[in-house]
Subunit: 372 residues, 4 copies
């Protein structure tokens, strides 16, 4: 690293699953990508003093604090990285933006449309750089999928089918964690994993969801620890602008499906399939090939020609889940340096929030609801 | 063949795709299964004299006629096998039943609920044996799927996801064939292939669809030959009795998907996946295995322990699409001999018709519609 | 069928597994392919009078006999179809050829090189049409594989890897059947299934095996019924003319592999993979595509553009194991009518025999042995 | 990190592909695993001053030097990590061991049996801890494979088939890099990737290769830059102690296969399959299940019950290639602390060298060669 690079000093709030993933990204990004700034892991924040000290040591942060307001007030922090449950996103992000910090906020952007709108409003007058953490956009195979759609390789999109399936609460004895409480999480499978497929399909297709017909369900209402107040599963059919039809399904009761985010796109000229459980692969059907040679191909997305991959290993040497966060960090660091609006912007993330809201209203009313 | 077996004399109406498949089944069934009757391919019927003569020769029928009423009136015919488009099913079947014939009727049972109800009404007073041709029930892997659900191997069903995807009209220049005309076909992808996944999911789960929220679309409305008057694609979410949630999608615009009938079931104890493009396989996830050994297994459904398979080849030697019709013939011949009600009965097929009707009403109204 | 077609009257010797497969082919071939002759299943022959009578009834033959010499002597037989164990192939085939019959002989052609040479010698002066039953050449995906190699789609071949794996005698308590006795079967896995991959790789690549280094083993030497006198598994590395290197493995002890004939070819421009357990598919890697889009594609070999498939069902509707025999019957009937030399000819099958012999000599001597 | 942990100070020689992979491992290991020592990346060594300075900055090392002897002489270095080509392994490792350093040496251990023997001899009197970098042993799915074999889940092993296929020099215009020169690399595909499958199969089965029959080839002998003096591909059949038969193939000419290390084991009770291109998965066939339910299952090796995985992400969240090096670092750090002999030891790596030597002698002599 040359001395001409400036330091970019990060303060992170939260240190659970997302905190660990973000930490690995901040630690790694400068060692694989040439960036205009050098990331420093300056401070980590959490409510429990002992736990946050231990997390600082384990995750490699220079200091720890229990007060996020103090963190935001520090002069030696450039970026606030929000890894807390959704109920605190708006308050922390707005305070950070007002203090002149750049903000990386985990998804979903907020627990309600109103909060998300407030975040967008504060950001847009602030001059700061802000981004929402829909990290799967930066899995190389998903980025390649978007690029191929943009390049016209599938033609006019007719169908999208998206599932995000997990099974970690299929056992009725699994306890009531915060992700199962509406006041903390906003919604259940819908906001947690459904938000990912809403964002990712809109991103890779370049098309927005116009309206939805949804059903949701809570299969197990009482668990050790109390009452589940969010959905266990959310399913909907949708119309996209441009005329495509889509199915969406998010569930935490799909036995055997561990992290099965799967997106298929069918267009007039071809099809594409992405599966997060095999995230180094993209399937492509090219209907312009000779009839006898058409078939779904399995592209191993490990070539230097593929998005982000020239930074890593030789062809055939695969990457994992956490790399999507490193790519996110790379692009966020560049956007801050360049003063450009990163994607997913808070406005795009608000768009996801509007879809989540439409899904909930559709499920309640039993009618087709337009997104707006 | 011993002389003690009686002949079962079949008259078939229609000689296109389904006619060829049924002919191969009638020709083959006695050579692989021990049956109480010997099938005779007595007569084939079609409107065009020259074409039906050629079909009789090609498909191996003893005689040909152009008048289905004459066929039904013959004394030397025991079974009427209806392989015509849906608009003539009710008329032919009702006449055949009134003439004392047994009836095998291709799916969907009829083009409207009213026709299907009339068929059931006539049948139920007749003493005849009648069956609807949802042949995929008798793909061994699908039959095994049903058996494993019935044996409790997946526990309480939480999710069903079913697609039947084809791409044969994705090209806007594909002409207006009868399957694209409402007066002939009743509906488009919905009744043709959507009916299969409605029937098959209800059959394998033992659960009925209670209500649906649907969208349908005709992507290409004008084709060489005229105006398309049916849906190109139909998508819906559904609730099943017993509490499961389901997604369904039928489309003829899914580029690269040729005959992709795929059903996944997630239950509290396991999951099952069937894919018609790999019809000799069934995937099973057994959540009762040790945690470190759980995974989706690919059962090659070619063992003598698997439904229908002891009649065919040694393990690992696969069968094809047409074998489902041979198995259907086998079970129908046995039901006639035994005087039992075969499955899918006309009443079950009427149930499918009620779902198709609910889907169309839901798509038109933009609301959740109960099946009844 | 028009009256101008002549009848082709078949007499089949043997009625076990291969007899059933051939019967289904003879019964079916005229109903899916337009042929210059109409096949008649005139007579079946076996040593046990009761059993052969039952087989005639079950498999659909017009008459039965217990004496193959009598069968060959009949005037009303045009073709002798030999489905017996390998030890009787040479005697029956030579007698049939001398009697002016056409001959279809199951593989391997004989149990020894000497027998095979004698068969070729008799044939070549006879004017008869003769073919050896390496049926897998006529699985459409395998036929497509050959065609693509011939069309230069993989360039210069560098590697071939071929396995034929089964597991039906992995249990030491499986009894001593004829296939485990040298005097009946000639060899074990080597001649039974190894012969298939030797023939198929030579056929699809157009290259002959020049030399081999082999090991063989009999894992279980004593079984209920007596001593196993053939190999349980045979493995060898080989050089092909043109410079490619190859690995071959045939085993009946590969637990979980039921009928796993798998061939992969790597060439300078691409690769191809065939797997008999998924016989409707062919994988193709096209190294001439843009780097970012290369991948192994899964061609579903069910299009009318694919070998033999226009005779069967619409795209995506798969075929099974037995269809390869129907295709074999089709091509044999045509060759008889046209007076052309069918492939695999007896001479080609003798070539396979020479490789089998080289493998056995290499395994015995522990040295690289040239095929000659 | 608590102050009670001692520092373990690493000096690394080499900074190319392996240097980058090892750096990421040293940087990461303490943040995911609780270890008795804290790794410090003290110094990096390479011959070119400018390049090694840049590498130090990029890869995150505290200092850089151009003289490996100086590095070894430093008091503040505990571990020498050798990431150079094979021709320098012996000299550096022996010097390091004599200087009292612990040694991690990339594979293959050396370019000749003699060098490897010398390394073992020096080590065994030294009291130091030394390990050879066969990193794939520590891919969790491979580690699980070994564990399941050891637990008797496949019974008596009958077959092993191992391939390591790449295609990076299939283009004849690819230049003459050091890996294509015998004096640098010792051998070609054989020592580079063949060594991995020799080691990994011996490790997971617990069985040693007893003898081999091999062929090798250099397909393209002249390249830009000079003459290729190593093999492009090496294939052999082998006998393992315990009676299993095996096939091995290593090639850099397998078009479309990028990093295709694939191992299949067939035993009397089950089978296992590992494929490095899908390194988060292990396939298992359990022949003790009911016959109708047997099949190859795809175990997603991301559960906390799986080796190494509790340190990483929730189930279904996959890891990549580089994690195997982090696991290697973890186990090496522990072994140093505990004073235990790590695996693969230099003696085990010498065993691999003996097999490589036998393969070369067999290829040259055209005979079966025993390993000794």
């Amino acid at each position: 690293m040359t001395s001409r690079r400036t330091d970019l000093r990060v303060g992170m709030v939260g240190y659970a699953f997302m905190g660990a993933a973000h930490s690995q990204a901040w630690r790694t990004v400068n060692h694989f990508f040439d960036l205009p700034s050098r990331v420093r892991m300056t401070a980590i924040c959490g409510r429990n003093a002992g736990a946050v000290e231990a997390a600082a040591a384990k995750l490699g942060w220079e200091s720890a604090t229990t007060d996020w307001r103090e963190l935001i007030a520090r002069d030696d922090i450039d970026v606030i990285d929000i890894c807390t449950p959704g109920d605190s996103h708006a308050e922390i992000a707005i305070a950070a933006l007002r203090a002149g910090k750049h903000v990386l906020c985990e998804k979903p952007l907020a627990n309600t449309v109103e909060e998300a709108q407030a975040m967008v409003a504060v950001l847009e007058g602030s001059g700061a750089t802000a981004m929402c953490g829909f990290n799967y956009r930066r899995v190389p195979a998903a980025a390649l999928m978007r690029q191929m759609v943009a390049d016209g390789r599938v033609g006019t999109i007719r169908h999208v089918r998206a599932t995000y399936l997990q099974d970690w609460i299929a056992d009725p004895q699994f306890p009531l964690v915060w992700r199962l409480q509406r006041e903390k999480a906003g919604s259940g499978a819908l906001g947690d994993i459904g938000a990912h497929i809403i964002d990712l399909t809109q991103h890779v297709t370049g098309r927005l969801i116009e309206g939805v017909s949804a059903i949701t369900e809570t299969f197990v209402k009482q668990r050790p620890g109390g009452t589940v107040t969010v959905d266990d599963a959310a399913l909907f059919v949708a119309r996209l602008d441009g005329g495509a039809l889509a199915t969406y399904e998010a569930s935490r009761f799909a036995t055997g499906r561990k992290n099965a985010l799967r997106i298929e796109i069918n267009g007039s000229l071809g099809s594409l399939v992405f599966d997060l459980e095999r995230l180094n692969e993209l399937q492509f059907y090219d209907a312009s090939l000779p009839a006898a040679e058409q078939g779904f191909s399995r592209i191993l997305v490990t070539e230097p020609e593929h998005p982000y991959m020239s930074a890593w290993w030789p062809p055939g040497h695969t990457i994992g889940y956490e790399h999507s966060f490193t790519h996110q960090a790379r692009d966020f660091v560049r956007a801050i340096h360049d003063g450009t609006d990163p994607s997913p912007s808070f406005r795009e993330a608000l768009g996801v929030q509007l879809v989540l809201d439409a899904v909930q209203r559709s499920a309640e009313s039993g009618t087709y609801v337009e997104v707006k």
